[in-house]
C-alpha cells in the first residue's frame, strides 16, 4: 500500500532509537558482566563467570536481592489494597464527582518523586511531624526510631508513590466492565458481595495484574527511597549496583547484578502479559 521508501522512512527512526539506546547498552552491559577488574582498577576484557559466582556465594548480594523482592512484594500488596478500593469506589459510586476524584489521584504524579520522598523523611524523622505529634499527645516519651531509616519507611514511601500506578490500570479495567453485567448479576439474585466476587473482580483481573506488575517492577528497582529513608537495614539491590558503578568501581559485578535483574523483570513482564491475556474477554 505504501511505497518502500515511505515505510523505511517511518520505521528507521524508532529502530535506530531502540538500537542505540536499548540494544547496544544492554549488549555492553551483558559483555561487561563477563569481564573483570584488575587490582590496578583496569577493566580486563577476558571472559569469566566470576561475577555470577560472586552473586551466588557472597551473602550480601543475594540477601539484598531477596530483601528487595520482599519490599517490592509488600509495596505491591499494599498499593493494591489501597488502589483497588479507590478505583472501585470511583468507577462505581463516585457519580458526577468521578472526574474530580480522578484528578485528585493523578495530581501527586505531577510532583517530583524526590520531593515526595523528602516529605516522608520530614514526617518520619525523630524530630519529624509524626514523632512530635506522638510525644505531644504522650503516646510515647522518646521518638520512635524505627519510623525512619528502616524497611518500614521504604515500604511506606514506595506504597505512597506507586499506588497511583496500580490505581490507573485497575480503574481502566473497572471502567470497561459493562454495567448491564452488574445488573444481570443482581437480576439473577446475586447480592452485591456475590456480584463483586463473581463478576466484577474476575473481570478486573487484567487491571490488577498490570497494576501489580507496575508496582512490583518499579519498586524492585527503586534506589532513591532506600537511599533517603532506608538506612542500613533498608538497603535495596539498586543501591548496591549504584555503589558498584560508583565508589566501589566494579562495573563488571554491577553489570552482572543488573543483568540478573533485567532477566527477572523481563520474565515477570512476560508471565504477567500471558496471564492478562488469559483473563481478558474483549
Amino acid at each position: 500500500m505504501f511505497s518502500r521508501a515511505y515505510r523505511t522512512a517511518i520505521t528507521l527512526p524508532p529502530l535506530l532509537w531502540v538500537t542505540v539506546f536499548l540494544l547496544v547498552p544492554y549488549l555492553l552491559m551483558f559483555c561487561y558482566s563477563f569481564w573483570s577488574v584488575s587490582p590496578s582498577q583496569a577493566i580486563l576484557h577476558t571472559w569469566t563467570l566470576d561475577n555470577y559466582q560472586q552473586l551466588r556465594h557472597v551473602d550480601v548480594y543475594w540477601q539484598t536481592l531477596l530483601r528487595s523482592m520482599w519490599i517490592a512484594a509488600r509495596v505491591t500488596v499494599f498499593s493494591l489494597l489501597l488502589g483497588y478500593p479507590l478505583a472501585y469506589f470511583l468507577s462505581f459510586y463516585a457519580g458526577k464527582r468521578k472526574d474530580l476524584f480522578y484528578q485528585l489521584v493523578i495530581i501527586p504524579l505531577w510532583v517530583s518523586y524526590l520531593v515526595r520522598a523528602y516529605a516522608w523523611k520530614t514526617i518520619l524523622g525523630s524530630d519529624g511531624v509524626l514523632n512530635t505529634l506522638l510525644q505531644y499527645v504522650h503516646l510515647t516519651r522518646h521518638p520512635l526510631e524505627f519510623l525512619l531509616y528502616s524497611p518500614f519507611a521504604v515500604v511506606l514511601t514506595l506504597t505512597h508513590i506507586y499506588t497511583p500506578f496500580t490505581f490507573l490500570p485497575v480503574y481502566a479495567s473497572l471502567e470497561h466492565i459493562p454495567r448491564n453485567l452488574v445488573e444481570a448479576s443482581h437480576d439473577l439474585g446475586a447480592s452485591p458481595a456475590q456480584t463483586f466476587w463473581r463478576v466484577v473482580f474476575p473481570l478486573s483481573i487484567p487491571g490488577v495484574l498490570a497494576g501489580a506488575t507496575f508496582a512490583f517492577v518499579l519498586s524492585l528497582g527503586d534506589f532513591l527511597a532506600p537511599l533517603l529513608l532506608g538506612g542500613p537495614s533498608g538497603i535495596m539491590i539498586s543501591n548496591i549496583v549504584v555503589s558498584l558503578f560508583g565508589a566501589a568501581y566494579n562495573w563488571p559485578l554491577g553489570a552482572a547484578i543488573s543483568f540478573c535483574m533485567l532477566v527477572l523483570v523481563v520474565s515477570l513482564l512476560f508471565v504477567s502479559e500471558r496471564l492478562e491475556k488469559k483473563w481478558s474477554f474483549a
Binding site: 453485567l181 437480576d187 439473577l188 439474585g189 463473581r198 463478576v199
Partner: protein, 364 residues
C-alpha cells in the same frame, strides 16, 4: 399471526381475577425531565404483555423500575401481597432478558445459565440438571462449554433466555431482546419466544418499539407515549378500536378524518351519515382496508366517496392507494394487488368502521 383470539380473550378476562403484577400510579423523573407519568396497569398470570412505544416513550424505564434497576419517583409495585418496589433487584422474583443479552464473558454458556442457581446456593446436582434442562429448552445443549464470545447473536439470545428461565421466575421481563437480530431470525424468534411462553406458562412483559412484533406476540399491548399510558388492550381491540389518534397511527395505517356531529348527523367534508354520537367535533380513524371498492357488494348504510387515484404502493398481497377526493380530502385505501386501478374511482365504507378517537390529527 401467532396470537389466537382465544388466548387473547382468555387473558383479558383473567386480568381482573388473577393479576400477578400490579403497577400503581408509577411516575419517574430524572431531575426536571419527566420520563413516566402516572402509569397504572396489571399483568395477569400467564399473560404476554407488550409495552410498546417509540424511543423516549419511557418503556425501558418502566421495565427497569419493575426489575429494580431504577426507583420510581412515586407509585407502588405489588406482586400478590408483596410490595415489590421496596426490594432490591436481587430479592425480586423477577428475571430479565437484557437488550444486549449481558452474558458474563468470563463464564461458559453452562456457567452463565447456572449462575442464578449457584448464587442461591443450590446443590451441584440440582444446578447441573436444571441447567441441562434449560439449555435443552432453548436448543443450546451443544454449546454448553462455549464462551459467549464464540457463539452467534441469536444463540446468545437463547442463552440469555435460558439463564432467566432457569430461575423459574413468576414474571419474565424482556427488554427489546430481538432488536439486535436480523429480520429473518427475528421473525423466527418471535414465533419461538411466543410458543416458549405458552409452554412455560409464566407472564412475560416484553418491551419493543416494533408495532408488528407487538401485534404478533402479545396477549395485550400497553402503548406508551411520552411517559403516559396511551391505551392498553388486546392487539385486536387496539387495532379496531384505537382510543387515540396516536394509537390509531402507531399501530397500523389509518386515515384520520375531522368531522362534526349535529343532531345525529356526522358531517365529514362532503360525506355524511347518521350517528348516535352527541353533538360536537370529532376525530375519526378509518383503516384503509375498511374502505372498499364500490360495486363488489353494496352494504346498507354504507357511505360512498369518489376520488382520483394519486399514488399507489405495492405491498405484495395488497396495494395501498392514495386517493384524492373532490373536497380536498385525501384517503388511503387498501386494495387487492394485481388489479388495474385508474383515474376516477368510487369507494364505500361502513360508518361503524370510522372510530372516534381522542387527540389531534397531526401526523406522527
Amino acid at each position: 399471526m401467532v396470537t389466537s383470539e382465544q388466548t387473547a380473550r382468555a387473558t383479558s378476562a383473567g386480568v381482573a381475577s388473577a393479576s400477578l403484577l400490579e403497577i400503581r400510579n408509577v411516575a419517574k423523573s430524572f431531575g426536571k425531565n419527566v420520563v413516566l407519568r402516572d402509569i397504572s396497569l396489571q399483568v395477569a398470570e400467564g399473560e404476554f404483555l407488550t409495552i410498546l412505544g417509540e424511543s423516549g416513550s419511557g418503556k425501558t424505564t418502566l421495565l427497569r423500575i419493575i426489575a429494580g434497576f431504577e426507583t420510581a419517583t412515586s407509585g407502588e409495585l405489588w406482586m400478590g401481597r408483596e410490595r415489590l418496589d421496596v426490594l432490591p433487584p436481587y430479592r425480586r422474583r423477577v428475571n430479565t432478558v437484557f437488550q444486549h443479552y449481558a452474558l458474563f464473558p468470563h463464564l461458559t454458556v453452562e456457567q452463565n445459565v447456572g449462575y442464578g442457581l449457584m448464587v442461591e446456593k443450590q446443590t451441584k446436582s440440582e444446578v447441573a440438571s436444571r441447567v441441562e434442562q434449560a439449555l435443552a429448552q432453548v436448543k443450546m445443549t451443544a454449546h454448553a462449554k462455549a464462551k459467549p464470545s464464540k457463539i452467534s447473536g441469536g444463540q446468545q439470545q437463547r442463552v440469555a433466555l435460558a439463564r432467566a428461565l432457569v430461575k423459574r421466575p413468576q414474571l419474565l421481563l424482556l427488554d427489546e431482546p430481538l432488536s439486535a437480530l436480523d429480520a429473518n431470525l427475528r421473525r423466527q424468534m418471535q414465533v419461538e419466544l411466543k410458543s416458549l411462553q405458552r409452554e412455560v406458562g409464566i407472564s412475560f412483559v416484553f418491551v419493543t418499539h416494533d408495532q408488528e412484533e407487538a401485534m404478533v406476540m402479545s396477549d395485550r399491548i400497553a402503548l406508551l407515549r411520552m411517559g403516559g399510558l396511551e391505551q392498553i388492550a388486546t392487539p385486536r381491540e387496539i387495532y379496531s378500536r384505537p382510543a387515540t389518534a396516536y394509537a390509531a397511527q402507531f399501530i397500523g395505517h389509518t386515515n384520520l378524518l375531522q368531522g362534526e356531529v349535529r343532531g345525529g348527523i356526522m358531517r365529514c367534508g362532503s360525506l355524511s351519515w347518521k350517528t348516535n354520537l352527541p353533538d360536537g367535533p370529532y376525530l375519526l380513524s378509518l383503516r384503509p382496508e375498511n374502505i372498499h371498492l364500490l360495486g363488489s357488494s353494496l352494504r346498507a348504510g354504507a357511505v360512498r366517496l369518489q376520488g382520483k387515484l394519486q399514488q399507489r404502493a405495492f405491498h405484495g398481497a395488497t396495494e395501498l392507494l392514495r386517493v384524492q377526493c373532490a373536497d380536498g380530502l385525501t384517503v388511503s385505501v387498501r386494495a387487492g394487488a394485481r388489479t388495474e386501478w385508474q383515474g376516477e374511482l368510487e369507494f364505500e365504507f361502513d360508518p361503524a368502521d370510522a372510530v372516534p378517537v381522542r387527540g389531534s390529527a397531526e401526523r406522527i
